[in-house]
């Protein structure tokens, strides 16, 4: 990948964005590209035959499309779970967060994560040999953009739009890429990967598809945001149900489940690595999550459809390593975790986590990271290779710590500087009318 620094972009970003977001959005790239185009030459080293690259591009493309579609799933899962007066807001948050994530991750996030200088070279280079790098960016963007989508579900129905969007941009642009780099790409980065691996005699931390890096991190980031926001008005004094639409909730869950196979299987990143084991492990964990949830929740649709997700979240880490039956167990336990932790969180501790993203992504994701260390055992559990429990634990704890610190700092700052909570009046009329000036079903106004 040919890399070029582009100081113009940086300056432009700093100077203008605050003032005239819109203008710069349109003019900036033109200037930047023009300025840059003149001097970019030289292709990256080519280490695969063209047809192999085509195969990988196609593979990553399929993955990117599948995981991109999951964002529709996030939108509808949230839309179905919140009250009717906040449905439009759920849709807008997910779509706009996606857009902002794309920009920030393109400009700084991905370069940080991969330890390179950025994409500011000529399209000719980007397109031909390096098209693989672009599609890889797209694929990992679909993961990065899960961070705001996860947080969105926890803070629903009472958060301001702009401040949260800016906070999310910081997380996707910096905090997440740092974690990604530490745990996925570069064991030498700040010495984190090495230090963790040293706990297990050099067995590296394994998080195949992001139980820890994506889900746990997102879930534990949401916790500070939820705490800083406080519960929704009357959430704990009122007897009213706070879920509006089970069919849309289920639709969101289905879209997520289907897309998840892209999330997990395509994490092999190269078509040669495609693995039936990863697919079937994802399947078994999902099914474990469904069955455990349906039993323990007495056939509650909210728990069951989220239980499937809990299983899928927990299996990301170990899906290339553990045995399908172990995957089933990991998923089933994740389903129970969601059930119990959600109840404890929201009813005992009265933490108003609307979709339950902390127990779902945070706790079940952490469980996934640790579970890979338990079931990643060739002798005992028929795994494909041995992972180290302490390494997995340490990596997981590291992600949690980073999430809590980043979350409190960034959302704390946002609260302090801009305020992150809707006014009481706006919360009563609902975010749809307050922010978007329209309701989800406008004809109903008579």
């Amino acid at each position: 990948m040919k890399i070029k620094r582009l100081p113009i972009i940086q300056r432009a970003l700093n100077g203008r964005l605050a003032l005239k977001a819109l203008c710069s959005i349109i003019l900036l790239p033109m200037i930047a590209v023009a300025a840059n185009a003149a001097d970019g030459v030289g292709a990256g080293t080519v280490d695969k035959s063209v047809s192999c690259v085509a195969g990988d591009v196609l593979f990553l493309f399929i993955g990117a499309v599948l995981v991109f579609s999951m964002h529709a799933g996030f939108a509808f899962l949230e839309l179905g779970t919140v009250r009717k007066k906040n449905q439009v807001n759920a849709l807008q948050k997910i779509l706009v967060d996606w857009a902002v994530s794309t920009v920030i991750y393109f400009v700084i996030g991905y370069p940080i994560a991969r330890g390179m200088d950025g994409f500011m070279c000529k399209a000719g280079q980007l397109g031909s040999m390096d098209g693989i790098e672009l599609i890889r960016f797209f694929f990992y963007l679909t993961f990065a953009a899960c961070i705001p989508a996860i947080i969105s579900g926890g803070i629903a129905e009472r958060a301001k739009f702009g401040p949260i969007m800016i906070a999310n941009a910081c997380l996707v642009g910096v905090a997440y890429p740092v974690l990604e780099r530490c745990l996925w790409w570069d064991p030498d980065f700040m010495g984190v990967g090495k230090a963790i691996a040293s706990l297990g005699g050099g067995v590296p931390f394994t998080d195949f598809a992001g139980s820890v890096v994506v889900h746990s991190f997102g879930g534990w980031l949401a916790l500070p945001a939820i705490l800083l926001l406080g519960p929704r008005r009357r959430r704990y004094s009122d007897g009213a149900p706070s879920v509006s639409n089970i069919p849309f909730l289920a639709l969101g869950s289905w879209i997520l489940c289907v897309g998840w196979y892209g999330f997990n299987v395509v994490s092999a990143a190269s078509v040669e690595g495609v693995s039936g084991l990863v697919a079937v492990n994802s399947l078994m964990a999902m099914v474990g999550g469904i069955l455990a949830s349906v039993i323990v929740s007495k056939n509650d649709p909210g728990f069951t459809h989220n239980g499937a997700l809990a299983g899928l979240i927990a299996i990301c880490a170990g899906s290339a390593v553990v045995h399908p039956l172990a995957a089933f167990a990991i998923g089933a336990i994740a389903g129970l975790i969601f059930f119990f932790m959600f109840t404890i969180e929201t009813e005992r501790f009265k933490i108003d986590d609307v979709l339950g993203v902390w127990p779902l992504h945070g706790v079940a994701g952490s469980w996934g990271g640790i579970a890979a260390g338990i079931f990643g055992n060739v002798k005992l559990f028929g795994a494909t290779k041995d992972l180290n429990f302490f390494v997995q634990l340490a990596g997981t704890v590291f992600a949690i710590a980073l999430a809590l610190v980043s979350g409190f700092v960034i959302f704390g700052l946002a609260k302090f500087v801009m305020g992150i909570r809707l006014s009481e009046h706006d919360e009563i009329i609902g975010a749809d009318r307050a922010i978007h000036n329209i309701e989800a079903y406008p004809e109903d106004v008579l």
Partner: protein, 113 residues
């Protein structure tokens, strides 16, 4: 002229309508409402949160009639709606001062049917 209002079980609507038609009463206005009475509500639960539903689905009929139809209307409603179970509902009758047919401007007893 009287106005008859009846709250019944949604299940009973079809039969009540038939009974009214049989009694030559063809005009009515129907609301979907929720009612609370002797009939116990029920509880639902969503992801562990339990909430009480004590307003149950009901249907309310409004029928404006001339005096001579009051009794037949009440009987028809009872005929269609009575199951003997709690929750069958209630019929209320109030005086009606005036009735106007919008289409013609016609007033009073003639306008009602």
């Amino acid at each position: 002229m009287k106005k008859i209002e009846a709250v019944i079980q949604p299940e009973a609507l079809e039969k009540v309508k038939e009974a009214l038609f049989d009694a030559d009463i063809y005009k009515m206005t129907v609301h979907r409402v929720r009612g609370c009475g002797q009939q116990r509500g029920y509880s639902e639960s969503y992801r562990g949160k339990i909430y009480q539903v004590n307003l149950l689905e009901k249907v309310k009929l409004e029928i404006a009639v001339n005096e001579e139809f009051v009794k037949p209307a009440i009987n028809a409603i009872i005929k269609g709606a009575r199951t003997g179970n709690i929750g069958d509902g209630k019929i209320l009758v109030t005086d009606l001062n005036q009735c106007v047919r919008i289409r013609t401007g016609e007033e009073g007893n003639g306008a009602i049917g």
